[in-house]
Amino acid sequence: MYAVDGMALEVSSVTKQFAKNDGPRWPWKRNGNGRKLVVAVDRISFQVRRGEVFGILGPNGSGKSTLVRCLSTLLIPDQGHITIFGHDVQRDEMAVKRLIHRVSVEASFFKKLTPMENLLYGARLYGMRAREARKRILEVLERLGLKKEAIFQPMEEMSRGMQQKVAIARAFLTEPILLLLDEPTTGLDPRSKREVQAFIEDLRDNHDATILLTTHDMQEAEALCDRIAILDDGRIVALDTPAGLKALVPRTNGHELTLEDVFMELTGKQLVKEDDEVEEA
């Protein structure tokens, strides 16, 4: 276990549940009025040290994105506490916002605007001067392999892989010290996936950034993460280094264990179902 001092992220007994529609709602009925509570995140606790790449591995609907939204001030947990570099996410919301950025599975932009216009908008929101921001945007996007002419074309004309690279550039531009990557490579073609992963490796090796990465790609988790938490039905079922997780499960027939084997052994489920494409809410 790492020392608490100097922790980048501390999550303590965080629970989040949502009311979902379940049949018709009748205003005169107090109970059972068509709403049921669904627990998305169930008493989760973990810590991430500064400079660590921490993975959260779980199938769709396991609560990964809900947890990331709680960390990024977009959801208020029902119970528990989250601190980021010592700042409470609820009480010191503005301080936390200055330290973090998030990349989600969907590269969300104003599609009619160009990458330059979108990123300039983002940079201004973080207090950057226009001249400095334009220079940085060009540097970061070119480093991510975007051609100069693509930087000044509407986002809607770009492939999804390219859009995701712009999303990563948006997050990187403001130099967050905690980067929340919520399935950044889901749905990308193998080449784009590899390029995004290489960029994350570069961030890990050359920048003072702590990274929290959610994924259901086991190889990605194993290659990039120092430690991995396995999430199922909103609960952490195991947390260790990739090698430590594999040591939890006995080898059978002498074959090399994968994280998929570990996940199946611990949860009795497959990590990725064929019809699972996009992570849950």
Partner: protein, 274 residues
């Protein structure tokens, strides 16, 4: 000082972004302008046709100008309301809402940036409609106090922005139809304020509500300055009431929005839908 500069830069982000979007959606802007001009003409033609309808002799130009002020205020209010409520609806549609709400800026800065754009855009649009209708009916504005009229609209903007921020809570809380719900507020506001008629023809209980509506004073002040050429000094009564309502409405709007934002973050309504 550094903090103020930071917030101004952040505010300008919304102004610049919205002007970039206007440039990209220029086709829609042309359609919207044609619709707005046609709408204004359709209403002001009622003034042109009143003699033919009633068989009574009236001052047709005065009647046209009276109705024109109503259409201008309605149009301006629509633009301010639509832009402010789009603050939520459009960003949710594009999926950028979570990124904007995650940015380290105060909600006040966010609102001011969005509304600043809508005020500039609304004033340009409204001036264009005024110009087209005046040319179309060859209205004589040589005795009108145009500056006074503009001042009334700008002073009214403070309250309209405050009410617009309150209205933008609706798309935040009702992702599917919240944006359309804001039209109800807009329509009721103008109905009680005498958009195409004097407030004195309203039933007593509606006249009571008219007294607390900022649009009442905008309409009255604009009519006084454009129709009667009232001096700017004589508009101070209306201006004072508008500033007073505005000064109360903006902080109240932001406070209500903050509560709605907390509710949205508790219930997960911020994220993209559809």
């Amino acid at each position: 000082m550094l903090r103020v500069m930071y917030e101004i830069r952040a505010s300008y982000a919304f102004v610049e972004r919205n002007f970039n979007l206007v440039k990209r959606y220029w086709g829609w802007e042309v359609v919207w302008l044609v619709y707005s001009v046609a709408n204004a003409l359709a209403i002001t033609f009622i003034g042109a046709g009143t003699e033919a309808i009633t068989g009574q002799k009236i001052d047709t130009k005065y009647m046209i100008l009276y109705l024109l002020v109503g259409t201008l205020v309605w149009h301006y209010l629509s633009i301010v309301f639509d832009n402010v409520s789009e603050l939520i609806a459009w960003e949710r549609w594009e999926g950028t809402i979570e990124y904007t709400f995650m940015a380290p800026i105060s909600r006040f800065t966010h609102m001011i940036g969005q509304t600043l754009f809508s005020l500039v855009y609304g004033l340009l649009h409204t001036s264009l409609i005024l110009g087209v209708v005046v040319l179309f009916f060859r209205l004589d504005l040589s005795k009108a106090n145009l500056f006074g009229g503009l001042l009334m609209l700008v002073a009214g903007s403070l309250s309209f922005v405050g009410l617009g921020i309150v209205a933008s809570v609706l798309p935040l809380l009702f992702p599917e139809r919240g944006s359309q719900m804001t039209h109800v507020i807009q329509a009721l506001l103008l109905l009680f304020s005498g958009v195409y008629f004097p407030v004195s023809v309203l039933p007593g209980w509606m006249q009571v509500l008219a007294r607390i509506s900022p649009a009442t004073y905008v309409l009255a002040g604009m009519r006084a300055s454009l129709l009667d050429g009232a001096s700017t000094g004589s508009l101070f009564g209306h201006l004072g009431r508008l500033v007073l309502i505005g000064v109360a409405a903006i902080p109240l709007g932001v406070a209500i929005f903050r509560q709605a934002e907390k509710y949205a973050k508790r219930t997960g309504k911020l994220k993209r839908s559809g």
